[in-house]
Structure formats: structure tokens, C-alpha cells
């Protein structure tokens, strides 16, 4: 069963105190940030910190993501080399507007994997979508590479591009982008991350936004503060009844499989592949919670 990807915790790449402790909050993914969190004069030093952080044994059970700068910046390729040579599980590309940018990233990743003797294809990709163009091109971005494991919506830049701002409440200004990204992710069979919530002191607002994301179908959210990890996991955890039912579905399916039966019923309902898949998803969400 695939591990759930609910929480992606941002960690500034130039902060050793945070880099060495983020794992204790048990996010599903930790994202070492070389982009916006790091000032231009500290990019070189942060790159080395992240390179060495990737080898810390403390992160062996956490998905390690590195957010690089855009490839058309003076930092992007250097960041990518540090990420690949450090053994990052995933590279997150910011401000992705088109599939061509993913293609370019993919070719550089493959080259670097060969150069450092890694298995070609081992590094996965996530594209962050932060503009109207990116949202319109979401499906082609999501399907641009077999390395793609997720797309993420980044709200701040997107709303600036859309000439609006956060309203709170039901957030109608993000509705189209969220729906477009989700449809692209589902059509591409990859994960979708909702926007980060910036006010780290507002648990109520954060949880309201989590409920919107969860109900729409997002796998999880990008997080900018460790305290949001627990809140998110608790909100995404299935109820006791959902969990019990999921366990019964899996048990019934395994029993039927053992008997060589194609289909089985449980409580009068047919247990078919979509029901089994949903039960597995429930169990994966309950795994950490």
C-alpha cells in the first residue's frame, strides 16, 4: 500500500536548527526550500546545508523533497545538482507554467542521475502551479513526465496573477484553480496538494481551509509551520466507523481472493475494485493518525 502524502512541511534551507529537527513533527513529506525562503546571498550556503541534510538518518522514513529555484534563474541548475547528488526523493519545481518546463527539468534530472551513478528514474517530480497559465495548463503539466507524483497549488502568486486576494470563508477566488488542479491530478493519477495557509496562529482558519481541501478531494496541503502537521493529520484521519468498515472490506476482498472468487458482497453491497481502492485509501490515511 502506498504511503499517504497529506502533509508537505516547508523547511527553510538556510536554517540548521529547523533542518535538523523537522522530522520530529512526522510530516509525510518534508520540503527543504532553496527558493523563496532563502535570500539570494545565502543560496550557495543553503544549497550545501540541504545537500548534507538529505543524508541525515533521521529522515529515512520521511519523503525528502527539495524545492529548487526556477531553471531559468542563476540558481536553478545548481540547486538541482545539490538535490540529485544529495539523493532527494522528489524535486519540486516552483512557478510551473507549462509542460515544457517539466520536460526540461526531467532531462536535467536524468543527466545528473547518470553523472552521479544513481538509478535513472529514481527521482520523482512535483510541479507547483502559481499562475493562471499554470492552472490552464494543469493537465499537460501533470502528465508531462512519468516521474510526476503530484501537483501543488500555490495560492499567493496565483492570486496576485489573478488580480485578487484571499477573502477567507469559502474562498471563491481559489475555487476554479483548486477544481482544475484536482481534475488534472486525478486524470493523471497523481496527488494534489492544496495551498499553504499563512496565518500560523489561526488554527480555526487553517482547519476551515483543510476541510475545504479535504472535501474537494485534495490529498493534503503544503504546510509552513510544524504545528499544522498534527492538525492536518487529525483532520484527515478517518472516523472509527470508516476505519472499521475499511478493514472489513479488505478482509472480505482478501477472503474472496483466497477462494478464487471475483466478487464478494459485504452487508448486501458488492465489493468491487473501486470500493477496495477507497478502503485502502482510508487505511493509508489512518496509518499515522
Amino acid at each position: 500500500m502506498r504511503k499517504a502524502r497529506r502533509s508537505m512541511l516547508f523547511v527553510p534551507g538556510d536554517n540548521p536548527g529547523m533542518l535538523s529537527t523537522a522530522f520530529v513533527y512526522q510530516p509525510d513529506s518534508v520540503m527543504f526550500d532553496l527558493e523563496d525562503a532563502v535570500s539570494p546571498r545565502e543560496k550557495d550556503s543553503a544549497r550545501l546545508l540541504v545537500f548534507h541534510t538529505l543524508s541525515l538518518p533521521a529522515y529515512k522514513d520521511v519523503e525528502r523533497v527539495v524545492r529548487i529555484n526556477r531553471l531559468d534563474s542563476e540558481y536553478g541548475l545548481k540547486d538541482l545538482e545539490a538535490a540529485i547528488r544529495g539523493g532527494a526523493d522528489v524535486v519540486r519545481l516552483p512557478k510551473t507554467d507549462s509542460a515544457e518546463e517539466v520536460h526540461e527539468l526531467e532531462s536535467h534530472v536524468a543527466r545528473l542521475e547518470k553523472e552521479c551513478g544513481c538509478r535513472v528514474g529514481q527521482t520523482k517530480l512535483i510541479a507547483a502551479i502559481e499562475s493562471a497559465s499554470g492552472v490552464v495548463n494543469a493537465l499537460s503539466i501533470a502528465t508531462a513526465s512519468t516521474r510526476m507524483v503530484a501537483i501543488a497549488l500555490a495560492g499567493f502568486d496565483y492570486l496576485v496573477d489573478m488580480q485578487t486576494k484571499r477573502s477567507g470563508g469559502s474562498e471563491p477566488e481559489l475555487f476554479y484553480a483548486r477544481a482544475a488542479l484536482l481534475h488534472a491530478a486525478r486524470a493523471a493519477h497523481i496527488d494534489a496538494f492544496d495551498v499553504a495557509y499563512g496565518n500560523v496562529d489561526d488554527d480555526e482558519g487553517f482547519l476551515r481551509e483543510v476541510q475545504i481541501a479535504k472535501q474537494l478531494g485534495f490529498n493534503g496541503k503544503s504546510l509552513i509551520h510544524p504545528r499544522q502537521v498534527y492538525l492536518l493529520h487529525r483532520a484527515y484521519a478517518p472516523s472509527e466507523a470508516e476505519l472499521m468498515y475499511a478493514k472489513r472490506v479488505i478482509a472480505a476482498a482478501e477472503d474472496a481472493h483466497g477462494k478464487g472468487q471475483g466478487v464478494v458482497s459485504l452487508d448486501g453491497k458488492m465489493i468491487d475494485p473501486p470500493v477496495i481502492k477507497e478502503a485502502e485509501e482510508v487505511l493509508s490515511r489512518a496509518d499515522v493518525a
Partner: protein, 97 residues
């Protein structure tokens, strides 16, 4: 790698360190370490710094480290960043790291 100018890397925040490098007119390598945990971890800090400098082939210069309880990986990264800045080097040989 030759240190040709003064440079610093890191901060004095907790779990970090500040590394200052400078050319040394005497042609020797001088390393000074100050740390809040020098009694407990002084030997280990020294070992990591010496190993990092050796891999970067730094044989002369002045290196002053103000440690604030950094882990080994951060010590390596900050020493490397300071040396690269001090050498004015943009190109990295990743095998040296």
C-alpha cells in the same frame, strides 16, 4: 583550494555556527574553534572541521569557527561555504564534499 580573500558563512543562531576564513601570510593553516559545547564535543568538532578542510585541499589560511551547538552536517556545510566563498570558487567538485 586556496583561500584568497576574507569570507564568512553561517550565523550565530542556535544549532548553527559562524565560520570566518582569511588568507594566511605565514603560509600555514590555523584553525581556531570556540564553542559552547567545547568540553563535551570539542574533539568531534575539530575532527569534522579538519576532515572538511582536508577534502577541500585547504592547506593554508586562517579559519575561525564560532559554534552554537551545530550538528556535524551543518559544520561541514558552513565550512565548505566559507572556503568556497574565500576561494572565489563557483565550481564545486561534489566528490570533495
Amino acid at each position: 583550494m586556496k583561500i584568497t580573500k576574507e569570507a564568512i558563512a553561517g550565523t550565530l543562531e542556535s544549532s548553527d555556527l559562524l565560520v570566518k576564513v582569511a588568507p594566511n601570510q605565514k603560509g600555514t593553516l590555523e584553525v581556531v574553534i570556540r564553542s559552547e559545547v567545547i568540553k563535551q564535543f570539542g574533539k568531534q568538532i575539530r575532527r569534522v572541521i579538519d576532515d572538511t578542510l582536508r577534502k577541500l585541499e585547504v592547506s593554508e589560511g586562517s579559519v575561525v569557527v564560532e559554534d552554537k551547538g551545530a550538528l556535524d552536517y551543518a559544520i561541514r556545510a558552513r565550512v565548505q561555504a566559507a572556503v568556497l566563498r574565500g576561494a572565489g570558487s563557483e565550481e564545486l567538485d561534489w566528490r570533495q564534499l
